[in-house]
């Protein structure tokens, strides 16, 4: 049927081998940077880890133990990592009094410390805009104001973080369900499931999501050892993160770090399903509004003006 292929003579065999060896050498040279790869990041256990929602209690315990060891190895601090579940009958809501906020950015830095964000490059979940009086158009806000004293008499201040939307576009777009909304309204991320496509970051109308463009770095002494799986455990390179209303605190009845640090009490947080909670009363009695109502996300983060503009307490505007 078929005729035989031309036989390889010695010379062409030599040339072919030379070519193959040269090709392999070039390939090895191209892959050379991979020798610096952090192998602790690519273990079989991590590779086989299941999605958060598919893990049994035992699975989760094993994973938590493993992550505790990984964190200890890296930071010389033995953390306590929990998987704090949402409570029945709870739906968290934030309310922020724009009349009171002085723009001191203490919330920004308290958040970074509490939630073990990378310090270099620094990742911040809260962005405070300095707004000219007479406008609530966020496009007119100044992101990078630096003042020896805040507030400036001509401005008011608008901190923006994850709005924990009822209809979150970020959850809709994620191709692998690495981010979802919990029963208490918090949108969370499984940092071990995220593939880093950053589609959620493009989808968010509030610019609330952050990406780890490189391996996060946190000084060992600054690590907050009270952690939970879905919130402030250290993240890895190449995954998304964002504000989760400090769920490791708030699900256990405490207040978010940004609220605790606020010197003027501009931040209010609580359970909207409890009619006696402070946020329920604010939503009932104050003129509240949400950001970008037109995009249909139904935020759980409300803004209101409690009183006239005016300085209350002075702080540094760093």
């Amino acid at each position: 049927m078929s005729s035989s292929e031309p036989k390889l003579d010695r010379r062409s065999f030599f040339r072919a081998s030379l070519g193959a060896v040269g090709g392999l050498a070039a390939l090895a040279a191209a892959l050379e940077p991979l020798k610096d790869f952090d192998r602790s990041d690519l273990t079989l256990d991590q590779f086989l880890q299941k999605h958060y929602k598919e893990m049994s209690a035992e699975d989760m315990q094993k994973v938590l133990d493993r992550i505790e060891k990984e964190v200890e190895k890296r930071y010389d601090v033995r953390p306590e990592i929990k998987d704090v579940k949402p409570r029945d009958g709870v739906e968290f809501v934030y309310a922020l009094n724009l009349g009171a906020c002085i723009g001191c950015r203490r919330c920004v830095h308290a958040c970074v410390a509490e939630n073990n964000q990378s310090r270099d490059p620094e990742i911040q979940y809260i962005r405070v805009l300095e707004m000219p009086r007479g406008s609530i158009d966020i496009e007119e806000g100044n992101h990078h104001y630096e003042r020896p004293k805040v507030p400036s008499p001509d401005h008011f201040y608008m901190p923006i973080q994850c709005q924990q939307c009822e209809n979150p576009p970020c959850v809709k777009v994620c191709p692998v369900e690495a981010t979802w909304q919990e029963p208490d309204g918090l949108t969370v991320i499984d940092y071990d499931w995220c593939i880093g496509c950053r589609y959620c970051e493009a989808a968010c109308p509030y610019w609330a999501r952050r990406f780890n463009f490189t391996e996060p770095s946190i000084p060992k002494d600054d690590l907050n050892p009270n952690m939970s799986y879905l919130s402030n455990r250290p993240r890895k390179q190449g995954v998304m993160e964002k504000c989760h209303f400090c769920l490791h605190r708030t699900r256990e009845g405490r207040m978010p770090a940004c609220l605790e640090v606020c010197p003027v009490g501009a931040r209010k947080f609580g359970n909207i399903r409890d009619p006696e909670s402070e946020v329920s009363k604010i939503l009932k009695n104050k003129h509240v509004f949400v950001l970008k109502q037109e995009v249909g996300t139904h935020p759980r983060f409300f803004y209101y003006f409690d009183e006239d503009y005016g300085p209350a307490i002075h702080g540094e505007g760093r």
Partner: protein
């Protein structure tokens, strides 16, 4: 089965055989692809910080090239439609080169998405928890991969049959050809919907984006085909009848004209209304608050597209040479307009009004060049193997053609004018 493995082995061997120009071309492409691989290795180790992307502009060159190439892939298979619906037999043999281009383009698309991932090691998560049908990216993964398989099947089956000197059974490929041509529209529509579906990005959240995608793809895709076909007919025995080029020329002209019309409609809506949504378009075309990195690019694109259209409409310029020039111009023009010109302004300013510009780094540029070179390498090999099969020089009962004499009969090279 054994015969099929032998076929693959012979194709592999054949891809190393060629004259010095072929070898030089392949060598250059291989070197560029390896440089790209080196840069990707750097990126894998240090993270996407090696790119110019930031939290503010979180997609860049990778997604821009991806978007452009989806269009190329879609349009390449679209040449099928006139062949089978209008029985334009002169295009018959050429369709296969279009589908091969689609294969190469889709492979490049998949590579561009892969290098854009922060955690490519977790890609298989898509198999365990797939957010279908809610996430448009999930849709895109499906339509692109199915499209790749469809085109691989069609080309592979036809070439295999010719190689075995069998008559292709219509049942095994005609239905797939039709599915592929409809599917071609779907891949580009779904890719447009990736952006269109984002309510927080008004620059993308416009219904006109999907039709514009299709129009620009059906200009750039056949334009690339026109240039490729001429390389093929200059260096091989495959005959490209002038009628085929004329047909492609008509497709390109109409598509480019529609694209320009849709662009005009979009610009009118943005700039006449002057609503808050105009900021991104303003940034793109005129610059915003002193930031204007994209302005020269987009005007080059507008200029190239308009000039290409003008040439195509000029009766005195109906020669192959002018056709080539206008095709080259519109490919570059559409690459700018649909790549950087679409992706970057979607992020500038951010949803909170901050302006951060994007400038690609050397490392990510090298990765992009590497993927383009790899795609060209794949396409060259596919064509290299297909040509001798189609011309009957490589069949299962013949020796491997060791020479490079696939060159055409001289008469065909002469310059023809298009009618």
């Amino acid at each position: 089965m054994k015969e099929y493995l032998r076929f693959l082995g012979r194709c592999f061997a054949l891809s190393f055989i060629g004259d010095w120009r072929y070898r030089l071309w392949m060598l250059i492409l291989t070197v560029i692809a390896l440089v790209g691989l080196h840069s990707w290795s750097e990126q894998l180790v240090h993270g996407l910080i090696t790119t110019g992307m930031t939290d503010q502009v979180s997609w860049g060159l990778y997604i821009a090239n991806f978007t452009f190439l989806v269009g190329v892939a879609a349009a390449a298979a679209m040449m099928v439609i006139p062949v089978y619906i209008y029985h334009r037999e002169e295009l018959h043999d050429l369709v296969i080169f279009g589908e091969l281009l689609a294969v190469a383009a889709i492979i490049m698309c998949l590579l561009f998405v892969t290098v854009d991932l922060g955690r490519p090691d977790r890609f298989m998560h898509i198999l365990w928890r797939f957010n279908f049908p809610i996430s448009m990216l999930a849709w895109d993964v499906i339509v692109l991969n199915v499209y790749l398989l469809l085109n691989l099947h069609i080309c592979g089956y036809l070439i295999w049959c010719v190689y075995r000197k069998r008559k292709p059974s219509r049942v095994f490929f005609i239905p797939f050809v039709f599915i592929a041509s409809v599917w071609a529209i779907s891949i580009h529509t779904v890719t447009a919907f990736l952006y269109v579906g984002l309510g927080g990005r008004p620059f993308w959240n416009a219904a006109i984006i999907a039709p514009r995608f299709i129009a620009s793809a059906f200009a750039a895709g056949p334009a690339i085909m026109i240039l490729t076909l001429q390389v093929i007919r200059h260096y091989t025995r495959i005959k490209v009848l002038p009628g085929a080029l004329a047909m492609l020329r008509r497709i390109v002209t109409v598509s480019l004209a529609i694209n320009m019309f849709l662009l005009g409609s979009e610009l009118f809506t943005e700039f006449y209304t002057q609503s808050a949504h105009v900021v991104s378009a303003k940034y793109l075309y005129f610059g915003l608050d002193g930031y204007s990195a994209l302005v020269p690019w987009i005007w080059v694109s507008v200029f190239l597209d308009s000039l290409a259209l003008l040439i195509l409409f000029t009766p005195g310029a109906r020669t192959v040479r002018w056709l080539n020039i206008s095709c080259a111009m519109m490919i570059v023009g559409i690459w700018i307009e649909k790549g950087m010109g679409l992706i970057i302004p979607g992020f500038v300013p951010t949803p909170l009004g901050e302006i951060v510009e994007y400038k690609p780094t050397l490392n990510e540029t090298l990765i992009c060049l590497g993927i383009w070179a790899f795609g060209a390498l794949i396409y060259t090999i596919l064509v290299r193997v297909t040509v001798p099969v189609l011309t009957g020089r490589l069949t299962f009962d013949k020796d491997l053609p060791m020479d490079v004499a696939d060159s055409p009969e001289p008469a065909l090279i002469e310059k023809e004018s298009l009618t």
